[in-house]
Structures are given as structure tokens and as C-alpha cells.
């Protein structure tokens, strides 16, 4: 498979075409399943085949060029795929998790009509194609092809139930928020072309790495521009607003696109372009700050949400914030590590939530759930594993990756990275606080959903059931991964061997060393050093106890006989704060009032005032009117009456005589 990487994304693309055709012919669901799930299954096999082939040979970066895509003047973009350790990691989980979610969707979507079922799998396959192009693309423009492609699929899948205004609106909102980010991204590409002459990763990154001082300024600009794209795609402040609404899509979509894969594209991009960010440290700092702020900001909103998917959506935003925080402190491998573990446990959380929603006849409000643990044990236990993982409990997957990020953030503070040590301490504090809130809201979710007594109607209660095996099997697989997935990155601290941190070791070649004697390189190198084993152990204990504390608080709030009493009292005492958080700090409303409404008002002004009245009314038709008016007046000179002409002649003669005389 190595040597023809193009086959990997091509397979789901074929699936897309087949499903469109099947949907058009109103074919049976079984055929759609074969095409839709089969194509992704084959792509997964092909991907792993390629990965094995890659691991068996010595080269660390292989670029396959197929044809010249765009070429004009100084702009050349090849249609080319590249495989390197970063691609391997991304491709490995994207295909595998993607496949599991496709399998899950068989059960989840079985109630749809045949055409809707085909349409769903067509979009999902198109998504897999785009995501694989994003990951395999060997240049920024090619990455952008996948980047916008996944955005399109996101748009289509969020708006899957298009007859619902909210769904249609949410899809559009996602596309436009992403578009705003994408404009930053393309500007970054243009700048890359202008500065480096190429946007191929294997060309411009080494150039930048070799001359870090020379390109520091431009690297900062490019890094920031590209990061604008990342804030859109990966739902960071200020463009995150689309992701909560993206939950309007079917739940497998939320799991695949809005949790496991697409939304991590921004992290992937930053890590892929880590050279740019390292030589332009201001950009890296911005990444860290935005990540840290988003982590705690979104977590705080998740606390008050009652919609099970909304909690998970804000949780995703928050976790993505962690990833950017990791990347922002130069812990690129840790960021990717968290991308991977997050893909496992967050996909599982969403699929579990989907299973719950499935059982509750489409209800997503946790206030009318409860006690589901007894009816759906598989869902419960796997969900619990994922919750422990995201809360950062040892030895679940999230523990290792989150702790690595927090540890490195603290180390950045300790080593006074870029001279902003205090800032990194603050970010670490934000991160650790967010970890507490994470454990709290996740266990709030678990208690509200699975514990206590069922609070829905009798009819709903009667309907409760465990999901079919196509849905529970992916849950179980992801459950196992959420438990053991963290072992690919066991810190040196625990084993005494750096090589046990498999993922970091594997991703080493992705971080290209910078040219000698560069201040930033030295600074970046500093953060590689640990803050000392004693402090590291301490930090580890702090994060663990913080997580446990979060769980205990949630327990006292939402479990047992006095469940919901404390939260009610809290709401009574701080009604404004509660309202603020419940309404997500009114950011949507602010955007609407400050950006969207004025834009429409201004557009209407352009149309009605400038276009219709000034340009067309006064100038264009005014000219026509003046012409007509002039003609109307001059008409009186040409009456056709001989007497009038004779009079004019006589007057003229008279005038001449007077003048000449």
C-alpha cells in the first residue's frame, strides 16, 4: 500500500459515489451498509497496511507525488501525499475510530428511511475521504482541501435533518464560523508562498528551520494566520460558537466529526507546522493562551448544561483547549497524544450518549433521565470508563495525556520559557482548575443519567432498552482503548526510561531541530527539561487529587438521597451567575447583536440607499431623466411652425444689427 497512498482516501470516496447512487435508486439499507461501512473498513485495512509498510522501512518521511494540481507563475501545488510519524498516528486512529463509528451508525440510523440512510453514509464516507486528504496532504493547500472538505461534510451532517430550522441553521453556522477561520488559513498559505516560495511541508519547513532568525517575523505572522483557521476548525475562542450547535446532527456525527477527528485538525496543523510556531514564539504563546482560556471557559459552561450532548460538546471544546495548551508550550507530542486518547474516550462518550438517547426515544435532557445503569449495563460501564479517562484518573487513557500537558505547562513556567514564566504558571493553574471542573461536570452527567431513579414518563420508561450489538460493540472496543490507550505514552518519570513514552519517541522526527544558535531553539529546548522529579511527582498527585475532588463534589451534588439539593441552593444563592453560565455567557446573543445584525442592516443600507437610490436612482436614472428633461425643453425650439422660425430669424437679424451697429 505504501507507494500508492492515494488508494486509502479513494476507497471512501468510492463509497460516497456508490451511496449517492444507491440513495438515488432508493436501494435497500443492506446494500448501503456494504458500500458505506465496507469502504471505510477497506480504507482502514489499507491504512494499516501502509503503516506497517512504512514502519518496515528506514525513511521517516515519504512523499508521493501524483500530478501537478495547480501551477501558475510562482505558485505550484502538487497533488501529493506524505507519510511520516505524525501522519501515521493521525491516520491510525482516524481510520480505526472512523470505522467503529460507521459500524455503530448501522444500528443508530436504522430507523431512517432508505434514502436518508444512504445519504447519511454518503456524507460520512465523504467525510472520511476529506479527513484522510487532510492528514495525508503534503502541503498546506492540499491540507486545506481536506480542511474545507471536512467542513462541508460537517455542514451537511449537522443539517442532516434539514427540515428542522435549527438543524439547517446550525449547519450553516458551522460552515460560516469555519469559513471565517479559513480565511485566516488561506492568508497564511499565501504568506507562506510569498516568503518561502513553496507550501510543501518538506520544502518550507526545513527552510524555516535552517534560518530561524531570518524568518522569525514572518513565521509569527504565518503562525497566527494559520491559527485563526485552527480556532475555527477546532472550536477555540472566539470561533467556538458553532460546535455546541453542531450537536443538532445525528450523534455518530458528533462522535466522529465533532469529537474524535475533524475538530482536532487544528491541533494537527499546529504540530505539523511546529517549526513555524517555534521560530515565531509570539504565535506559540497565543496558541497556549487561547488553549488555556478555552479549556477553562468551555468547562465552566459545561457545568450548567442539561442537554447530554451539549455537556459533551463544551467538554470537547475544553479538551481541545488542552491540546492547544500542550502545543503552545512546545509539548507537540503530548498534544497529539491527547488528540489520540481524546479520540478514544470522547468518541466513546458520544456514542454512549447516543446509546442513551436511542434508549430514551430521542430525549437528550438529563433532567428526565436517571437510573439507566440498570437497563443498559454495557453502555454504563463503557461510559464510566471514558468518564474516568477524561477526568484524568490513573491509569485511564486521559490521565497520561492530560498530565503530560499540564506537567509541561508547569515546566514552561519553571524554566521561564520566552521570559513569560508567570504566564505559564497562570495557564497551568487554569488547566488544573479546568481539570477539576471536568471531573465535576462529567460525573454530574454520569450521576444524572445513570444513577438514581428514572425521572422520565412511564411510557419512556417502558421503552428503555440496551442498544443492539452493532452499537455496543464499538462501545466496548473504545472502552478498552479508553482504559489502556494511555500506555502508549507512559512518562519517563514512572519508568525511568524515556523510550517507554512510545508516542513521544515515535513523533520525535516531526519536531525538526532548528538552525544552530537560535535563541528560540534554546528557549524551546528548555521546556524539554523537566521541572525536577520531585516536583513532577507532586504535580501528578495534585492533578489526581483535583480529579478525585471533582468527582466527590459531583457525588455530593448529584448522587444519593439528597441529590440536586445543593445545586438548587447554589442557584438560589447566585441566580445571576447561574443564568450567565446557563446561557453560555450570552456570547451567541452578543455576536448576533454586534456582528450579524449590523451586517444585515449595513447590507440592506448598501442595497436600498447606495444601490437603489444613489447609484441607480440619482446617477443612472437621473442622467436619463436630465436627458429627457433637456429634450423636453429644447423641443420648444423645434415646434415645426414656420411662424416661430420666422420670428427667431427676425429676432436674430435684429440682434445682429444692434450688435454690429
Amino acid at each position: 500500500m505504501l507507494g500508492s497512498l492515494w488508494i486509502i482516501p479513494l476507497l471512501p470516496l468510492i463509497g460516497f459515489g456508490l451511496n449517492l447512487f444507491l440513495g438515488w435508486r432508493k436501494a435497500r439499507k443492506s446494500l448501503v451498509t456494504i458500500a458505506g461501512v465496507g469502504s471505510v473498513g477497506l480504507a482502514t485495512i489499507a491504512a494499516y497496511w501502509a503503516i506497517i509498510g512504512y514502519l518496515e522501512q528506514p525513511a521517516r518521511v515519504i512523499v508521493e507525488r501524483y500530478f501537478t494540481w495547480i501551477s501558475a507563475g510562482k505558485i505550484t501545488v502538487d497533488a501529493a501525499f506524505q507519510i511520516d510519524p505524525l501522519t501515521v498516528v493521525m491516520m491510525a486512529f482516524v481510520t480505526f475510530v472512523g470505522f467503529l463509528i460507521h459500524v455503530y451508525s448501522i444500528g443508530y440510523m436504522h430507523g431512517e428511511s432508505d434514502t436518508a440512510y444512504a445519504r447519511f453514509f454518503a456524507y460520512m464516507n465523504l467525510f472520511m475521504f476529506s479527513m484522510l486528504v487532510l492528514v495525508l496532504g503534503s502541503s498546506l493547500p492540499l491540507m486545506f482541501v481536506g480542511w474545507e472538505g471536512v467542513g462541508l461534510c460537517s455542514y451537511l451532517l449537522i443539517g442532516f435533518y434539514f427540515e428542522d430550522t435549527y438543524c439547517a441553521m446550525s449547519g450553516k453556522k458551522a460552515f460560516i464560523a469555519n469559513r471565517i477561520g479559513d480565511v485566516g488559513f488561506v492568508l497564511g498559505i499565501f504568506a507562506t508562498f510569498a516568503v518561502f516560495g513553496s507550501a510543501d511541508f518538506t520544502r518550507f519547513l526545513p527552510i524555516a528551520a535552517a534560518h530561524p532568525q531570518q524568518y522569525a517575523g514572518w513565521a509569527t505572522a504565518i503562525g497566527l494566520l494559520l491559527f485563526v483557521g485552527a480556532t475555527g476548525k477546532s472550536a477555540q475562542i472566539p470561533l467556538y460558537v458553532w460546535l455546541p450547535d453542531a450537536m443538532a446532527g445525528p450523534t455518530p456525527v458528533s462522535a466522529l466529526i465533532h469529537a474524535a477527528t475533524m475538530v482536532t485538525a487544528g491541533v494537527y496543523m499546529v504540530v505539523r507546522c511546529n517549526v513555524i510556531y517555534r521560530i515565531g514564539p509570539a504565535a506559540l504563546l497565543v496558541v497556549a493562551i487561547v488553549g488555556g482560556l478555552t479549556a477553562i471557559y468551555a468547562a465552566s459552561i459545561a457545568v450548567a448544561q442539561n442537554d447530554i450532548k451539549k455537556v459533551l460538546a463544551y467538554s470537547t471544546i475544553s479538551q481541545l483547549g488542552y491540546m492547544f495548551l500542550g502545543a503552545g508550550v512546545g509539548a507537540f507530542a503530548a498534544a497529539i497524544f491527547h488528540v489520540v486518547t481524546h479520540a478514544f474516550f470522547k468518541a466513546l462518550l458520544f456514542l454512549g450518549a447516543g446509546s442513551v438517547i436511542h434508549a430514551c426515544s430521542g430525549n437528550q435532557d438529563m433532567r428526565t433521565m436517571g437510573g439507566l445503569r440498570k437497563v443498559m449495563p454495557t453502555t454504563y460501564w463503557t461510559f464510566l470508563a471514558a468518564t474516568l479517562a477524561i477526568s484524568g484518573i490513573f491509569p485511564f487513557a486521559g490521565f497520561f495525556s492530560k498530565d503530560e500537558i499540564l506537567g509541561r505547562t508547569f515546566a514552561a513556567g519553571a524554566s521561564n520559557l520566552h521570559g513569560f514564566g508567570w504566564l505559564y504558571y497562570i495557564l497551568w493553574f487554569l488547566g488544573i482548575t479546568a481539570a477539576f471542573i471536568t471531573a465535576f461536570y462529567m460525573f454530574r452527567l454520569v450521576y444524572m443519567t445513570f444513577h438514581g431513579e428514572f425521572r422520565g414518563t412511564e411510557e419512556e420508561k417502558h421503552h428503555l432498552h440496551e442498544s443492539p450489538w452493532t452499537m455496543t460493540l464499538p462501545l466496548q472496543v473504545l472502552g478498552v482503548l479508553s482504559i489502556i490507550g494511555g500506555f502508549i505514552g507512559i512518562p519517563k518519570l514512572m519508568t525511568g526510561h524515556a523510550s517507554w513514552n512510545l508516542i513521544e519517541h515515535f513523533l520525535d522526527p516531526v519536531v525538526i531541530p532548528l538552525g544552530t544558535g537560535h535563541a528560540a531553539e534554546i528557549a524551546a529546548g528548555v521546556s524539554e527539561h523537566s521541572a525536577g522529579a520531585g516536583i513532577e511527582w507532586l504535580l501528578l498527585l495534585v492533578s489526581l487529587s483535583i480529579a478525585v475532588a471533582g468527582i466527590l463534589v459531583a457525588r455530593s451534588f448529584y448522587a444519593g438521597e439528597h441529590a440536586f439539593e445543593k445545586p438548587a441552593r447554589f442557584v438560589e444563592r447566585y441566580p445571576l451567575l447561574y443564568k450567565l453560565i446557563l446561557n453560555k455567557y450570552y456570547i451567541d446573543e452578543v455576536y448576533d447583536k454586534v456582528v450579524i445584525q449590523p451586517l444585515y442592516r449595513f447590507a440592506r443600507f448598501c442595497w436600498k440607499a447606495i444601490d437603489t437610490i444613489i447609484i441607480d436612482g440619482v446617477i443612472v436614472n437621473g442622467t436619463a431623466f436630465m436627458t429627457e428633461l433637456t429634450g423636453d425643453i429644447l423641443r420648444f425650439l423645434q415646434t415645426g411652425n414656420v411662424r416661430n422660425y420666422a420670428l427667431s430669424v427676425a429676432m436674430g437679424v435684429l440682434l445682429l444689427i444692434v450688435i454690429l451697429w
Binding site: W69, K74, T115, C167, A168, V186, L187, L599, V620
Partner: protein
């Protein structure tokens, strides 16, 4: 057929076809339609032959016809030739004609013969304007375009067709009359220097370049003649603020008319800038670049804003044209190889995408006799195939990578960035607004609850309509995936054009 006659066949073929059509009795409408379709298909085949015989390595004009004196006393002759730039636009024109004829199969039911004769005459005029190597001949073709288009809008148009047709005619005429003055001035100054009368493109090119720049606009022959040409082209493009004829013309024109208008006619404006203004008056061009850049960027944003609040689909698409052609002008003004190639490609892209949009709006208009967005909603359920096609064309229009629009915009903006990054930043905002107005329309027409019961009986797109839109879709994808097919033939021409 000798190769040097090929261009003559391509250019005058439709006119000859119109003559044949004139002899078909008026009752035989079906025969007339089929005849027109066959002629247009033959035209496309001929232009493919042109493509096949075209040598992409040659920068100058090739496949030239023999120079035949027409008004020898004034040095005016019949002389045609193409380079990589006009080749693409000729291909676009001949591709769109069968599309227009198929799209008008049902919607045009009165004066069928006259309609097709107008179409064919229009084709000859447009092709002639693209391939003329004699500036006077170019002017004749240029003006000839007005007449059939005037009839197409005025006879087969909507309720306000007379207003729209007259506005279109007079507005365009104002610009072209000044251009005629400019052409005459050029020929005159050429005569002063060489003592020979000539309207040959190559001679007037030299004459234009030698015009004095002067100290101010009104004392500068080069700037004045530049402005005379520029006004004609700016109206045609149309550039902000000369655009208000366009929405009226588009909304009132029948579907076929809108397709040609957007697809080809507007391109003559941008083509004029590239073929005449830039190489003929390099110094004046240089002086005017800031103004063109500013107007281009305003056009991009302003067109998008106004499109945003249009209640009428056709008007929305019309204003989107103002925005899209702003991108083309931006690329031309920046004048790097990448931005210029992008601009030329974007001319083709706009012809395909906007042509397809008008066609598809026409499809639904024929069924429901309304173009108001508010009269639809949720129709994806009843017309799934139509929805899919519309969505694809929408995505092409908003520049989704993998489809044609992206390649053009990418090259324009990436090429412009080297010289005018600030302009690019503002222009790139147009990409956001473009997505907003298109997707908002899509949401209100295709998604949302199904509110209008009368849409229930809406029939999905039929085979004839699919056949009409298919060629456009094929090229939308082709250019998106493999634009090199279309970029490499123009490379040499663009390079040499920019050298001067």
C-alpha cells in the same frame, strides 16, 4: 478545410447558421430548435478542433486567418487569431451555447425562430470580439453583441423587460462610444507617426504605448484614451459603481439570456482590460492600478453585501457576479503571472458556475413561476437530485477546494498577495460573505420546514435539464481537480502579455 480558415468557420459559423435558420418556416419550431442545437454542437466540435490545433508553447496569436482588406482606405481588415487567453474564452462560449439552447427548449415558446437567430448572431459577435486582431473589427463585433442581447431581453424577458433592455443598451452604448473615440484617436496617432492608416491590433498596440503620459489626467493622451477604453470595459464587467444595469438585465432576461450574459458577455469586459488596456497603455495602467484595485475590492465586498439581502434568487446571483468579477479585476490589476492566470481561469469559472446557477434557478422558475426565495423552503425533500446539483454549483461558486472556483480564487489571491497583501486581506473577506449569502439562500430554499403546500407537486429536474447542466458540472469538477489542462495553454500568452 485549410487550418487558416478554421477560426473563420468558428466565428462566422453561427451567423451562417442563423441564415439557414431564417429559411426554416416559422411553424416548424421543433426543427428550428434542433437545427440551432446541431449548429451549436457543431460549433463546439469546431472549437475543440481549435483546441487540438493550438500550440501552447507559442505566446503570440496563432491559427491566424489571412488578413483580408475590408476598408483598405483606412487600413481596416478582417483578421482573426487566438492566443491561450482567448482560446479558453472561445471554448467557454461555444460550450455555453448548446447549454443555452437546451435550457430554453421549453421556456421559450414564442418567436422561437427569432430567438435562436438572435442567439446565433450573438455567438458570432462574442466570438468575433474575442478573436479579432483588428481593433475596428473588434469594435464592430463588440457593438454587434448589443443588438441580439437587446432583443433577447426585450422580447423574451420578464415584466420589466423593456426598461431593462433599454437600460442595458444605453448604458453599454455610453461606454462603447467613448471607446470608439479612443480607437479613432489611436489610429490617428498611428497615422501621424507611420503615415499609414491601420487598425491592426499590433499597430495600435505600438501607437498606444507611445502615447504621451503628460502631467495630469486631462493633458495626458495615454490616460485619456486608457479611460475611454476602461469605461467601456468597466461597464461591461461590471465594476462598481457601473453595475446597476446588471441586476435589472439579469432578472428580466430569460434563463438563456442570463446564462450568456453572465457566462460570456461580462467576460468581454475583463477580457478587454487584459487585451487592450493593460498592454496598450502600460504607463496609464500603472497609474490606474490603485483605482482598479480599490474598485475591485469594493466590488467584491459590496456585491456580496447587496447579494446578502436580495429576496429574489436571480438578483442574488446577479449581485454575486459583481462580487466574483471583482476577484477577476483584482487578479488583473495585481498583474503577477499567477494572479493573471487565476483571473482568466476565474472568468471561465464564473461563466460555468454562474451560468449553471442561472440555469438551475430557471429550472425551478419554469415550474413555480416565482424566483422569490420566500416562496420556497424545505424543497430538498421533493427535488433531491435538483438539490444535489444546486448544492454542487453553490459550492463551486463559494470556492470549495476540489471544484473550479477555488483554483481561480486561490491563484488570484495568492498571486496578488506578493504585491498588494492589504487588498488581499480585504478581498478574502469576500470569501466569508460569499459563503453567507449562498448558504443562506440554500437554507431558505432547500432546507427549513416545508411550508408551501404548492411546492409539493414540484417535479424533480428532468433528463433534458440534466443534460443542459451536465457539461457545466463536468467542467466544474474537471477544473477543480486538474486545472493544469486549462492553465498550461494560457501560460505562454499570459507571460508574454505581462512582459510588456
Amino acid at each position: 478545410m485549410h487550418i487558416e480558415h478554421l477560426l473563420t468557420f468558428v466565428t462566422l459559423g453561427p451567423a451562417a447558421g442563423a441564415l439557414i435558420l431564417a429559411f426554416i418556416p416559422g411553424r416548424l419550431e421543433k426543427v428550428q430548435r434542433w437545427a440551432a442545437l446541431l449548429i451549436s454542437l457543431a460549433e463546439f466540435a469546431l472549437s475543440c478542433l481549435l483546441w487540438a490545433n493550438f500550440n501552447p508553447d507559442i505566446a503570440g496569436f496563432q491559427l491566424q486567418t489571412a488578413k483580408v482588406p475590408w476598408i483598405p482606405q483606412l487600413g481596416i481588415s478582417y483578421h482573426l487569431g487566438i492566443d491561450g487567453i482567448s482560446l479558453l474564452l472561445v471554448m467557454l462560449t461555444t460550450l455555453l451555447m448548446p447549454v443555452v439552447i437546451i435550457a430554453s427548449w421549453r421556456s421559450i415558446s414564442e418567436h422561437v425562430k427569432a430567438f435562436h437567430i438572435s442567439l446565433l448572431m450573438l455567438t458570432t459577435a462574442m466570438l468575433g470580439a474575442f478573436v479579432s486582431l483588428d481593433v475596428f473589427l473588434f469594435y464592430v463585433f463588440w457593438e454587434l453583441m448589443l443588438i441580439p442581447m437587446y432583443f433577447i431581453i426585450g422580447v423574451w424577458g420578464g415584466p420589466r423587460r423593456i426598461y431593462a433592455a433599454v437600460k442595458f443598451f444605453i448604458y453599454t452604448m455610453v461606454g462603447s462610444v467613448l471607446m470608439l473615440v479612443g480607437i479613432l484617436y489611436l489610429a490617428y496617432s498611428n497615422h501621424l507617426q507611420t503615415h499609414v492608416w491601420s487598425f491592426a491590433y499590433s499597430d495600435l498596440l505600438k501607437a498606444g504605448r507611445q502615447l504621451q503620459m503628460g502631467h495630469s489626467f486631462f493633458t495626458s493622451p495615454q490616460m485619456l484614451v486608457f479611460a475611454a477604453f476602461a469605461l467601456a470595459f468597466a461597464i461591461k464587467v461590471p465594476m462598481f459603481p457601473f453595475h446597476t444595469w446588471l441586476p435589472d438585465a439579469h432578472t428580466e432576461a430569460p434563463t438563456g439570456g442570463s446564462i450568456i450574459l453572465a457566462g460570456v458577455l461580462l467576460k468581454l469586459g475583463t477580457y478587454g482590460f487584459l487585451r487592450y488596456n493593460r498592454p496598450m497603455f502600460p504607463d496609464a495602467w500603472h497609474a490606474f492600478v490603485p483605482l482598479i484595485l480599490v474598485l475591485a475590492v469594493i466590488g467584491i465586498l459590496y456585491g456580496a453585501w447587496v447579494a446578502l439581502v436580495q429576496p429574489d434568487m436571480k438578483k442574488l446571483v446577479a449581485y454575486s457576479s459583481v462580487s466574483h468579477l471583482g476577484f477577476v479585476m483584482l487578479g488583473l490589476a495585481a498583474g503577477t503571472i499567477a494572479s493573471t492566470e487565476g483571473a482568466v481561469l476565474q472568468m471561465v469559472n464564473h461563466g460555468l458556475s454562474t451560468g449553471a446557477l442561472f440555469l438551475l434557478v430557471g429550472v425551478i422558475y419554469e415550474r413555480r413561476h416565482t424566483r422569490m426565495i420566500a416562496d420556497y423552503g424545505g424543497i430538498a425533500r421533493v427535488v433531491p437530485v435538483y438539490t444535489g446539483l444546486f448544492l454542487l454549483v453553490t459550492l463551486s461558486s463559494i470556492g470549495l477546494p476540489g471544484l473550479n472556483g477555488f483554483v481561480g480564487e486561490f491563484l488570484i489571491l495568492a498571486g496578488t498577495w506578493r504585491r498588494y497583501p492589504v487588498a488581499v486581506i480585504f478581498a478574502a473577506l469576500g470569501l466569508i460573505f460569499g459563503a453567507i449569502y449562498m448558504l443562506w439562500m440554500v437554507q431558505r430554499v432547500f432546507w427549513n420546514p416545508f411550508t408551501h403546500e404548492e411546492n409539493k407537486s414540484l417535479k424533480d429536474i428532468n433528463l433534458r435539464e440534466v443534460l443542459a447542466v451536465a457539461p457545466l458540472v463536468i467542467f466544474i469538477v474537471w477544473i477543480g481537480v486538474h486545472p493544469t489542462t486549462f492553465l498550461s495553454p494560457m501560460e505562454a500568452a499570459v507571460r508574454s502579455l505581462l512582459m510588456h
